[in-house]
C-alpha cells in the first residue's frame, strides 16, 4: 500500500504508559496521584526499613525495657532518641512500625500472589474447559466462599498453633498467614477470571487460534489471559488491602505474627493493653499507618476500576 508508514523509534515502556489512556486519567485525578504517592512513600520506606530505622526491633540487644512507654516527640516527657516514642517492651516505635509495615505488605502481596495464582488457574480452566469440570470447580468456590475468610483462618491458625506449639508456630507464622489468607480468598479471582474467559472464549480470535492448531494451555495463557488482565488488576488492588486487613485482624487476635516480630496488627494488639493507662500511641500510630495504607490502596483500586471499565460511568 502507500508509504505512509512512519517508522518512529518505538517509545519506551514508561512513556507509552504515561501517554496511554490510563496515564492521562491518572494525571487528571488528584486523588489517584496523592494515593499513589503515599503508597509509594510507605512501600519504599518500609522496604528500606533496615537502612532507615535507627534501631533494629528484632535484635533483643538493642532493646532496653527501661525505655518502655516513652511518648512521641511532641508530648511532654518524651525522649528525643525515640521519634514516635517506644512501646511496652522499650522498642523504638518508628523502627518497629517500619519493620511491621514491611511485614504487613509482604504478607499482603504474597497472599494475593498465591490467591491470584490459584484463582487465575482455576478460573481459566473452569471457563475454558467448561462442562462438568466448570460446575465442579465453581461449586468448590461457592463452598469456599460460604465460609468467611476470618473464620477459616482462625480455625486453621488455632489448630496449627495447638498442633505445633507456639514456638514452632511463631517461627513459621508468616508462611502460615500467607497460606491461609491466600487459600481462603481464591474464589474471588476464580469467579472473575471465569466470567471474563467465558466472554473472551466466544470471540473469533480464539477460534482462529484453535484452527491454527494451538493447544488449550497455549490459548489460555497466551491469548485469553492477556485479554482478561484488567479485572485481575482491579481485584488485585482490593485484595491486597483485604489481605493486609485480614493479617492485621489475625495478628490482633494473637493468631498471627508473634510479638517478637510484630506486624502492624500485632503492634496494635500489643498496645491495646496500655491504651487506658495513657500510652495511646502504641496502638494509635500503627493504627493510623494501617488505615492510611489500606485506604490509599483502596482508592487506587477504585480509580483503576473506573479507568479500566468504561461502562461504569461515575458522574
Amino acid at each position: 500500500m502507500s508509504s505512509l508508514s512512519t517508522n518512529q523509534p518505538t517509545p519506551s515502556r514508561f512513556s507509552r504508559l504515561w501517554n496511554s489512556n490510563m496515564g492521562y486519567s491518572f494525571r487528571r485525578n488528584p486523588v489517584a496521584i496523592v494515593s499513589l504517592a503515599i503508597f509509594l512513600i510507605i512501600a519504599i520506606a518500609s522496604t528500606l526499613a533496615p537502612v532507615l530505622a535507627p534501631f533494629d526491633p528484632y535484635d533483643p540487644a538493642q532493646i532496653d525495657i527501661m525505655n518502655s512507654e516513652y511518648p512521641p516527640m511532641w508530648v511532654d516527657g518524651a525522649d528525643p532518641q525515640f521519634f514516635l516514642g517506644t512501646d511496652d517492651q522499650g522498642r523504638d516505635l518508628w523502627s518497629t512500625i517500619l519493620y511491621g509495615t514491611r511485614l504487613s505488605l509482604l504478607i499482603g502481596l504474597c497472599a494475593v500472589a498465591l490467591q491470584a495464582f490459584l484463582g487465575i488457574s482455576i478460573g481459566l480452566v473452569a471457563g475454558y474447559v467448561g462442562g462438568r469440570i466448570d460446575s465442579l470447580l465453581m461449586r468448590l468456590a461457592d463452598i469456599q466462599l460460604s465460609f468467611s475468610t476470618l473464620m477459616v483462618a482462625i480455625i486453621f491458625l488455632a489448630v496449627t498453633q495447638a498442633m505445633f506449639g507456639s514456638e514452632t508456630f511463631n517461627q513459621y507464622a508468616i508462611y502460615f498467614l500467607i497460606a491461609v489468607i491466600g487459600v481462603a480468598e481464591w474464589p474471588q479471582y476464580a469467579r472473575t477470571v471465569r466470567a471474563t474467559v467465558l466472554a473472551e472464549k466466544k470471540k473469533e480470535y480464539i477460534d482462529s487460534a484453535r484452527v491454527l492448531g494451538f493447544g488449550p494451555i497455549r490459548i489460555m495463557v497466551r491469548h485469553i489471559l492477556p485479554n482478561s488482565l484488567s479485572p485481575i488488576f482491579v481485584i488485585s488492588t482490593v485484595q491486597v488491602a483485604n489481605a493486609i486487613i485480614s493479617e492485621a485482624s489475625l495478628s490482633f487476635l494473637g493468631l498471627g505474627m508473634p510479638p517478637s516480630q510484630p506486624s502492624l496488627g500485632s503492634l496494635i494488639s500489643s498496645g491495646f493493653d496500655y491504651i487506658f493507662s495513657g500510652s495511646w500511641w502504641i496502638t494509635a500510630i500503627p493504627g493510623v499507618v494501617l488505615v492510611v495504607l489500606v485506604l490509599v490502596i483502596n482508592l487506587l483500586g477504585d480509580w483503576m476500576r473506573d479507568v479500566l471499565n468504561p461502562k461504569l460511568y461515575k458522574g
Binding site: K203, E204, Y205, D207, S208, V211, L212
Partner: protein
C-alpha cells in the same frame, strides 16, 4: 480448474453431515409440564441436516443461504471447531471429524479459516508481528528467528500490508487492513484449503472488492481451494466456481455457478436469485416468499421448504426430497423438479 491426476479424488467430502445443538442440557431442563403431566423432552436445534457435498481441488465452492440456515455451522464443522452429530467429513481421502487434536495437527497446516469479523478475529493484545509469527513458529519449530521473520514479511507483502507496520496493534488498523492481516495469518502456514466464513460481509463495499481480489490472487498464486460462505449472491457470481444453496440446514441445489445463475431449478434458488438487485428492472419477476423460515427446532415434515413453496403438494408435505443429479450436472433436492411440475 483441477488437474487431471487429482480429478478423481475430491479434496473435501461431506457425507450426510448433521449437527444438532441441544437446547435442554441438564436433566432438570428436560422435565416439562405438559397437559398436567410431567414429561421428559429434549429439544435441539437442527442446524445442519444430512448435507453431502464434495469440494474438488482448485475450485471455490460457495455456500449461500439466508441467515440462520447453517452456513457458518457447516464451516465450523469442516474446520473442526465443532464436532458433527452425525455423518462424516473426509479430507483428501481420510476421515477427519473423529480425530483428536494431536491427530489434527498435520491438517492444520493444510486447512485454514478466515473469519467474518476482522474486529474480533485478531487478538487485541498482540502486535501484528506476534500474531503472524506465532503460527509459523508453532508449525515450523526448526525455523530460526530470521527465517520466521522473512516468512512473515513475505506473507505480509503478499496481502498488501507494509511489513514495517508489524509492530502495531490491531486497533491501529482499519477493517479492511485487519481482514488482510487475518488472511495473512491464515497464509503463514502455507495452507492448500481455506474456509472463509463470510470474510467480506463486515467490510465496506469499496473494501469488499479489494479483499475479494486479494483472495482470488492468493488462489491463483498458491493454488488454493476455497470453501466460501456468503449470503451475497453477486460475490458468488464473481468468486465461485460452484455454488451450494442451503435452506434450514438442508442442501437445496448444488451447481456450477454459471448453470445456477442461468438456470436455477429449485424454487428456493429461484426466489433467492430473483431477489438480487439488477440494473435493468425487468418487470415483476421478483418472487415473494410468503411467511418466515420455520424454526430449526421443529423442522417441518417432508421438504423443509414446503411451508413457503408455491409448488408444494401432498408429497412434499410427507417425504423429504433427496438430492438428484440433473442432466446439466447440477444436483437438486425437490420433488417438483423431479416430477417436472415446474414449467421451465
Amino acid at each position: 480448474m483441477s488437474t487431471a491426476s487429482q480429478q478423481t479424488k475430491p479434496l473435501l467430502e461431506l457425507k450426510g453431515l448433521e449437527k444438532r445443538f441441544d437446547l435442554d442440557k441438564g436433566f432438570l431442563e428436560t422435565v416439562k409440564l405438559r397437559g398436567g403431566r410431567l414429561t421428559r423432552e429434549r429439544r435441539s436445534v437442527h442446524a445442519v441436516n444430512n448435507v453431502s457435498l464434495n469440494v474438488d481441488r482448485g475450485e471455490a465452492l460457495c455456500i449461500v443461504g439466508e441467515s440462520g440456515c447453517g452456513k457458518s455451522t457447516v464451516a465450523r464443522l469442516v474446520a473442526g471447531l465443532l464436532s458433527p452429530t452425525g455423518g462424516e467429513i473426509h479430507y483428501d481421502g481420510d476421515r477427519i471429524d473423529d480425530r483428536s487434536r494431536a491427530a489434527m495437527m498435520p491438517l492444520r497446516k493444510k486447512m485454514q479459516m478466515i473469519f467474518q469479523n476482522p474486529y474480533a478475529s485478531l487478538n487485541p493484545r498482540m502486535t501484528i508481528q506476534q500474531a503472524l509469527e506465532e503460527p509459523v513458529r508453532h508449525h515450523n519449530p526448526q525455523m530460526n528467528r530470521g527465517e520466521v521473520r522473512d516468512k512473515v514479511a513475505e506473507v505480509m507483502r503478499s496481502v498488501g500490508v507494509d511489513p514495517s507496520w508489524s509492530s502495531r496493534y490491531p486497533h491501529e488498523f482499519s477493517g479492511g487492513q485487519r481482514q488482510r492481516i487475518a488472511i495473512a495469518r491464515a497464509l503463514t502456514v502455507d495452507p492448500e484449503f481455506i474456509i472463509a466464513d463470510e470474510p467480506i460481509s463486515a467490510l465496506d463495499v469499496s473494501i469488499q472488492a479489494q479483499v475479494l481480489n486479494l483472495m482470488l490472487e492468493a488462489k491463483d498464486e498458491r493454488g488454493l481451494t476455497y470453501f466460501f460462505i456468503t449470503h451475497d449472491l453477486s460475490v458468488v457470481e464473481h468468486f465461485g466456481t460452484r455454488v451450494a444453496v442451503l435452506y434450514l440446514g438442508t442442501l437445496c441445489e448444488l451447481a456450477d455457478t454459471r448453470t445456477l445463475f442461468e438456470n436455477p431449478k429449485h424454487p428456493y434458488t429461484k426466489a433467492l436469485l430473483s431477489a438480487v438487485p439488477k440494473l435493468k428492472d425487468e418487470g415483476p419477476s421478483h418472487i415473494r416468499l410468503q411467511g418466515e423460515i420455520p424454526t430449526p427446532i421443529n423442522l417441518p415434515q417432508g421438504c423443509p421448504f414446503q411451508t413457503r413453496c408455491a409448488f408444494a403438494n401432498a408429497r412434499c408435505r410427507e417425504s423429504r426430497p433427496r438430492p438428484l443429479l440433473q442432466t446439466d450436472g447440477s444436483t437438486v433436492a425437490c420433488h417438483a423438479v423431479e416430477e417436472g411440475r415446474l414449467d421451465g
